[in-house]
Amino acid sequence: MGVRTFTKRQVSVSAAVLVLLALYPLAVRGSFPMHLMIMVFLFAMLGVSWNIMGGYAGMFSFGQAAFFGIGAYTSSFLLTAYHVNPWIGLLAGGVVAALAAALIGIPCSNLRGHYFAIASIAFAEIVRIHFNNWKLIGAAEGLTIPMQDESLRNFMFHSSKAPYYYIMLGFLILSLGVCSWVTTSRMGFYLRAIKEGHDVAKVLGIDVVRYRMAAIMISAFLTAMAGTFYAQYILYLDPESVLILPISVQIVLVAMLGGAGSVMGPVIGAAILLPISEVTRVKLGFKGSGLDMIIYGTLIMLISVYQPQGVWGFLQKIGRKKR
């Protein structure tokens, strides 16, 4: 990967995909296909955000749920307690999450590999337990977002899911833009250098702490945005639904499966994982046999054994061969 230059083919494929995605809500009926795609976009965005710190800078965070939850809680708390518009809450959540990331990032910025992962889990668990007991923000009861009139201004829609769909698609495109800007900028090269050789990068004069911090904060900001979206979409949140470890793991899974360290990898990962988990649940879950979980688990195992570089790596290999 060098400085990004788009081939004609890439541009036309992207344009075609975008047009198809824009038309999707007009083509489907019922809420489920829309919900499915919204979940795909949401987790793709979370994966892309993780990728900025995990995939490029080598900081394997298993604590993204903390930023996700902080985003969701900040906007929801501001809305329920002070009637602050959720769009302002969205930015506030991003800022709070970025600050929290900085706070945790400073002591952890020299931790490598496993140690960073462990610290990130500990951080997320501390946040979860704290939120679970924090009476001001509803503690374990969580926050119920009051039903308001549907409008873009209120960030709330009842009659159709299409607005949520387009907003989430917009967020995803934004995060892809940020990610691709990070990777092609000077910072992206520094991050990759740090990932390949922490000490070598330091010796070469790269301010390791500064760039790692920047990556964590950008990642946290985007993750928190997704959190606010989640809160406005579901209209209820408690620590169990936004701050738990399985969410962090799912985010890593999406990115790793699709291909960590490539811009589009997490999108592919989400586009594969989410439909499998949702469709198997809908088609098989009601029987209560747990078969859906078995299929889901088996697929993840197959992909990780046969395509450890992720699906995106596999697609690129095919692409290269064709040329």
């Binding site: 809420s31 007991n133 119920t144 579901i234 879950g285 009601f286």
Partner: protein, 424 residues
């Protein structure tokens, strides 16, 4: 009521197919009313979810078939107000996650065109699912989630049949007062112990509120995480505070752990009043005789049949159909389909506003429910069933026995709690 067993036997299950009411069946077959049932059918809570599912399945069978039972719509086939239309359940699995509660409620409404929703056992999932039904303007009848907050949100389409944790907490204090008045057992101090998720912390809050209202002194107020692997420090604090009565809100694994630790460390209050975990089907098999004399809140117990024959008839049908005893979870979920179908029948329509109107006018008498209630009527503001109350059961000889309200009791309450050392 002697011929009831025989008749029930005749009409039960397969006999239906041979029913002479061919005409009405043919008519009914033409029309099906779908309702959505949202439950955790896979994942950590799958066994509980499947228990609820059995309760709903039996209810729907009774509504659709002809049974000589004193339950709403039991004696007629299908929904009489809609020409005997049959009730069909569309099952939806939440995996126990709140976001799936919303997605599944929306899916069954928009894709399967259900006219009402029931479920979802966990209060947090019921919250998101009922936000979804509110958005899509579809009635939701819940008879198995117990968070008080559910009916405090001012939702228009949400109704709750079963008691909530505030009512259960209140029951404990009414019991303590009854104990004092009728059995001359004075209680002065309380220890309040609760796990710290939505359920436990709500119960803790309610108990502290009632303790003040009823004039008891709280000498210990302890919350803990329900996945703790060691609770010696919590029990140590309780022993030090030495309350007359312990109030404990727990899930199952922590209930087992605490019981063992109580015994090991010799915590001997005069009584233990508990919730939830202590009545899950897995509790007694794990703890056996050490569970004796603990008192648990409940909405249902099989021994209610002594005072209320309907309970025995339904429990028999349940056992015949599924081969196991009807549990509290199954019994709670059992009621929602009746309430919804009965309202649809009176509304003579599947239109949401008409059903909501009928639900608001619901007045099911106490002899048509399988719990010791005065009936089902919804509060006009909160839409909570105003007659819903709990009962207290005590574990005696490793069986749950109804001991309060004293007038519905199957056996006398054993009080005070016998010290661990004095037991075999």
């Amino acid at each position: 009521m002697d011929n009831l067993t025989r008749r029930k036997f005749l009409v039960g299950g397969g006999a239906l197919a041979l029913s002479p009411l061919v005409v009405s069946r043919a008519f009914a077959q033409g029309k099906t009313i779908k309702i959505g049932a949202v439950y955790p059918l896979t994942g950590n809570l799958a066994s509980t979810g499947l228990d609820c599912k059995r309760g709903v399945e039996l209810a729907v069978e009774i509504i659709n078939g002809k049974y000589d039972l004193n339950l709403p719509l039991a004696r007629t086939e299908g929904i009489p107000g809609l020409g005997g239309a049959r009730l069909e359940v569309v099952w939806a699995d939440t995996k126990g996650e709140p976001k799936n509660g919303q997605a599944e409620a929306e899916r069954v409404i928009t894709q399967d065109q259900v006219v009402g929703v029931i479920g979802a056992y966990q209060s947090s999932v019921t919250k998101t699912a009922s936000q979804a039904t509110e958005r899509l303007k579809v009635p939701y009848v819940c008879s198995d989630s117990s968070s008080p907050t559910l009916t405090e949100r001012g939702l228009r389409y949400f109704f709750r049949v079963s008691p909530h944790d505030g009512i259960f907490s209140h029951d404990q204090f009414r019991f303590l007062k009854d104990l004092e008045a009728q059995k001359k057992q004075k209680v002065q101090t309380l220890g309040v112990l609760y796990e710290n998720t939505e359920f436990g912390s709500n119960v803790g809050k309610e108990e502290l509120k009632y303790a003040q209202e009823y004039g008891y002194k709280v000498v210990a107020d302890i919350s803990y995480t329900n996945n703790a692997t060691d609770v010696t420090s919590e029990v140590g604090r309780l022993i030090k505070a030495n309350p007359d009565v312990l109030l404990h809100a727990s899930y199952i694994t922590d209930a087992i752990l605490f019981t063992k630790t109580f015994k090991e460390m010799g915590f001997n209050p005069k009584g233990m009043l508990t919730m939830a975990g202590y009545i899950e089907p897995g509790y007694l098999p794990a703890i056996k005789a050490d569970g004796n004399f603990i008192i648990v809140r409940s909405t249902f117990a099989l021994d209610l049949a002594k005072k209320k024959p309907l309970v025995g008839q339904v429990a028999d049908l349940f056992k015949k159909k599924f081969g196991i005893e009807m549990s509290e979870n199954a019994a709670r979920s059992f009621m929602a389909p009746f309430v919804l179908a009965e309202a649809i029948s009176r509304a003579k329509s599947v239109e949401a506003e008409a059903i909501v109107k009928a639900l608001r006018e619901t007045n099911i008498p106490g002899d048509q429910v399988i719990y010791p209630w005065k009936g089902i009527q919804f509060d006009p503001k909160t839409q909570q069933n105003v007659h819903a109350t709990g009962t207290l059961v005590q574990i005696q000889d490793q069986q749950y026995v109804t001991v309060w309200p004293f007038e519905s009791a199957a056996k006398d309450v054993v009080w005070p709690f016998p010290a661990w050392k004095s037991r075999k």
